[in-house]
């Protein structure tokens, strides 16, 4: 009888049954180390090679350009730190944006302490990077441009193709954090001039703890984890074979279902957004209305605070997330919401609901119906709402 509506698929997703089924034999049946010489281990090795081919094909790369990692955060760390090391003779300047994931931003802050110079590009009210500002930020010492493919909080999709062209024209490496975009938007690394791309398994119905970094052939970045000869000596450590099988299966599954799934999700997304904006006063959509991930919604409810909203939603069986300070563990609300120009109090009242292919219209109707009651209940408790109403009714 307990309702359970999971709408936090940007945080993590359910591992798909076919993914789990593909992984299971690699725990206690085909458990050989891919580096071993006997034929038993050869099955593990060929299975890993197969996944590399699958992933390479999906993003238009070569299989020896795919490096398995422990996830998106490791891939982002590797791309930035190793590029700084490899290209120190060329320069020490990186260009990124104010709305990147912390895996990029905190790595940049770490690199700044080591003497690297970082430019953080502004975004417009929808979260889109200004290409003119990007061009103006380029210096002779710029070694890397890192811009996310799509934002994890507000779902805005960046003009990656244009950014890739600018980077190529200036002979600068282009890295993109595609953790949210993978499986949601068709990606071709050549069309977009992407030199490095980070992706993660658990965001696309794969397992947690596995991801990959695409590194274009010719890019000089070297090892991040030192040890054995795995991953062309660039990322040592015995392969997470079940994870890699799960990742490959998930990437393929997401690629095959992409068009139909995202069309369905986008329709439901727009249905939910329309209902909320029409039926609940004083709220706004965060992120771009069209250039956004098919499964992302992010709405700010004025006069209320996000954590309170999340707890009330949880009580009626709905899982979501917020950009409020209370959910970030600091006093400031989400850096992304501040970067798009939201005042603090409105950023505190944001609600991100991210859909999956299992989300139904009935579920969203239930969510909107509950939201109307919960938001009004919290507003009735809010001194900000009280002041607003007094000002506007007298």
């Amino acid at each position: 009888m307990d309702k359970f509506i999971y709408l936090d698929n940007a945080a993590t997703t359910k591992t798909a049954t076919e993914v789990l089924d593909a992984m299971l034999p690699f725990f206690s049946e085909q458990y050989g180390n891919p580096s071993s010489i006997y034929s038993f281990a050869g099955k593990s090795q060929s299975a890993v090679m197969k996944q590399r081919e699958i992933i390479a094909e999906v993003i238009g790369a070569q299989d020896n350009e795919i490096y398995f990692t422990a996830g998106g955060t490791e891939s982002d760390n590797w791309a930035l730190k190793a590029a700084v090391d490899a290209y120190e003779k060329k320069g020490n300047h990186i260009i990124t944006t104010k709305i990147e994931h912390h895996a990029i931003l905190h790595t940049c802050e770490y690199l700044e302490k080591k003497g690297v110079e970082v430019t953080y590009l502004d975004v417009d009210e929808y979260g889109i990077v200004d290409l003119e500002q990007l061009k103006a930020a380029i210096r002779p010492t710029t070694i890397l441009i890192s811009v996310m493919f799509a934002n994890n909080e507000i779902g805005t999709v960046e003009p990656v193709k244009e950014i890739g062209a600018i980077a190529r024209e200036h002979g600068i490496l282009f890295h993109t954090d595609a953790v949210q975009a993978m499986g949601q938007i068709p990606i071709n690394v050549d069309e977009c001039n992407i030199d490095m791309l980070s992706a993660s398994g658990h965001k696309i119905n794969g397992p947690k703890g596995i991801g990959f970094l695409y590194i274009r052939k010719g890019v000089r970045i070297r090892s991040f984890i030192h040890g054995g000869a795995q991953e062309r000596k660039r990322r040592a450590g015995t392969e997470n074979v079940p994870g890699i099988i799960g990742l490959g299966t998930a990437v393929k599954r997401a690629a095959v279902s992409l068009a139909a799934r995202t069309a369905q999700e986008a329709e439901l997304r727009d249905y939910y957004i329309k209902r909320v904006l029409e039926e609940i006063p004083h709220c706004r959509l965060n992120g771009h209305p069209e250039k956004r991930l098919a499964n992302n919604t992010n709405i700010s409810f004025r006069f209320i605070e996000g954590e309170a909203l999340l707890i009330r939603l949880d009580m009626v069986g709905i899982c979501g997330s917020s950009g409020s300070a209370c959910t970030s563990g600091s006093l400031d609300p989400s850096h992304v919401l501040l970067a798009i120009g939201l005042p603090h109090e409105i950023a505190h009242g944001s609600l991100r609901l991210t859909l999956s292919d299992e989300t139904t219209k009935e579920e969203l109707d239930y969510v909107v119906d509950r939201l109307k009651v919960i938001v009004q209940g919290l507003r009735d408790m809010s001194p900000l709402y009280e002041d607003y109403m007094k000002k506007h009714t007298n």
Binding site: E305, E307, P383
Partner: protein, 147 residues
């Protein structure tokens, strides 16, 4: 993350609302940090708090500490109410996560702000009561966006 008592007070806040012609009203915190509390006190001629209401913009802990603070001061005289500390509020809630301790401080401050307002209106001095530090209007931008 929260104790049962915190959840109970968040789910069923006590004394939530407004008081017309309150003897003292105090508002503390600011929207920037995501917490604003307002306390209304109804104080009789014997300086007993007859009624108290609150309104809070903030997280679960902010609502629960406001609710508990109103319970703790109700029926007390103003000097006893002044002795209700953030620690007392926290203990009554069976504790708060470390990052939420500031909510209990805000609740204490809101009571003090309401008492200060009462003292000012009645031209009296409440011993031990200092002028409340924060005020929501300090760094509030005057903007009215409608959406």
């Amino acid at each position: 993350m929260y104790t049962e008592k915190v959840m109970d007070h968040f789910q069923n806040p006590r004394n939530m609302g407004e008081l017309e012609d309150a003897a003292g009203v105090g508002t503390v915190g600011n929207a920037k940090c995501g917490d604003i509390m307002r306390i209304y006190l109804d104080i009789d001629e014997k300086q007993i708090i007859q009624d108290v209401k609150f309104k809070t913009f903030g997280c679960g802990a902010a609502v629960a500490t406001s609710s508990m603070a109103t319970e703790l001061v109700k029926g007390k005289n103003i000097n006893e109410a002044l002795q209700v500390t953030n620690r007392a509020v926290m203990e009554a809630l069976d504790g708060l996560p470390p990052v939420k301790v500031h909510c209990s401080l805000l609740a204490e401050e809101a009571i003090h702000a309401a008492l200060w307002d009462y003292a000012e209106k009645n031209h009296i001095v409440i011993e031990g009561l200092e002028k409340p530090k924060s005020d929501i209007h300090e760094d509030e931008e005057e903007e009215e966006e409608d959406y």
